[in-house]
Symmetry: C3
Subunit: 140 residues, 3 copies
């Protein structure tokens, strides 16, 4: 049984959805030592999130940003938590809709993703510094 | 410490929400060898997803389909990713709202689910072939 | 390799979003015995859910309740599952949008959360008794 864990700080990304699969794997090469297991990726923030979706056409990521802005609009009359800017409370809600972690099977030293799957960093704030992640790979 | 992992291909399901708890357990009988642990179920697709919800009244699953179609409509003016049909981009968004994996405690060789809980396959495309899953059971 | 698991029953909470990080840690002090690992928290219900979000300003939790009520309204014309009250079907949908589990890295005997992160119990019913959780801490 192996348990590898790394604290990572990503570079700052602009508001939107971004592919980070390669950036994560570069930080935890120990995945190749796991025959059967899982990779857990966690984001230590409440206004950015992680999800898995299409790794090919960039318009998918643009449409995610458009639709989340529509589904969780800024400046609704009912938000009371307004003091950190109009993008702040929607960022918290989007973060919980998408989630703070993803976990992916590891098989024979590699992520067992579908061919069209990639890990997205979902940056919900207009201005943010580099986000902190904790990646944990474990298995036999 | 035990780590069991299986690649599964489900039969094709029509668009909607479907109970697959029994289908999964049939494929990974090794769950009964785990006294304390977890079962992780992962879907290798970006237009179908997994969630846990009520395993009894079928109208719950019908209402999920109705509400997700309302919350993530087809043919919005702002989608740019349109070339694979009007159900494609909504399918990607629904998949990330619900998630690509579920994980469930295992206790004394059984899933420690609530009595009303079951695992749903959420099929978001009008036409799809059998979806590929990776199930990983681990524990002591 | 250690695997600790506890069944917990929370006190009843009113409809809304509630911080339960301390309540969970009090029930599973074995987290301090794990140098590198994960904590998995699972809710055995389909009308309440778990998420991670801001642990400071209480208006964030109020705004979550307001926005989820807006995004998943009661009494839509298309719900067929109505027999358990107008808050029931929305509760099921909210539960799947947020999810039935959270998992958090454990580092040096402590949850490796961001400083603003806490675990929320999301109670979606008007009247509910204490919710049952299963918490599993594992690692080396």
């Amino acid at each position: 049984m192996n348990f590898f864990q790394k604290n990572i700080t990503l570079p700052a990304y602009r508001r939107g959805f971004h592919l980070i699969t390669s950036a994560i794997l570069k930080e935890i090469p120990e995945v190749k030592n796991i025959r059967t297991g899982l990779l857990h990726v966690f984001i230590k923030h409440t206004s950015a999130s992680l999800t898995i979706n299409e790794n090919a056409d960039a318009t998918v990521r643009t449409d995610f940003e458009s639709h989340f802005n529509h589904m969780v609009p800024e400046n609704t009359r009912y938000y009371q938590h307004n003091q950190e800017g109009p993008d702040d409370m929607p960022a918290h809600i989007k973060a919980s809709l998408l989630g703070s972690s993803v976990s992916i099977p590891v098989t024979d030293g590699k992520l067992n993703l579908g061919i069209w799957q990639g890990i997205y960093l979902c940056e919900h704030r207009n201005e943010a510094s580099g986000r902190k992640l904790v990646v944990t790979a474990y298995g036999v």
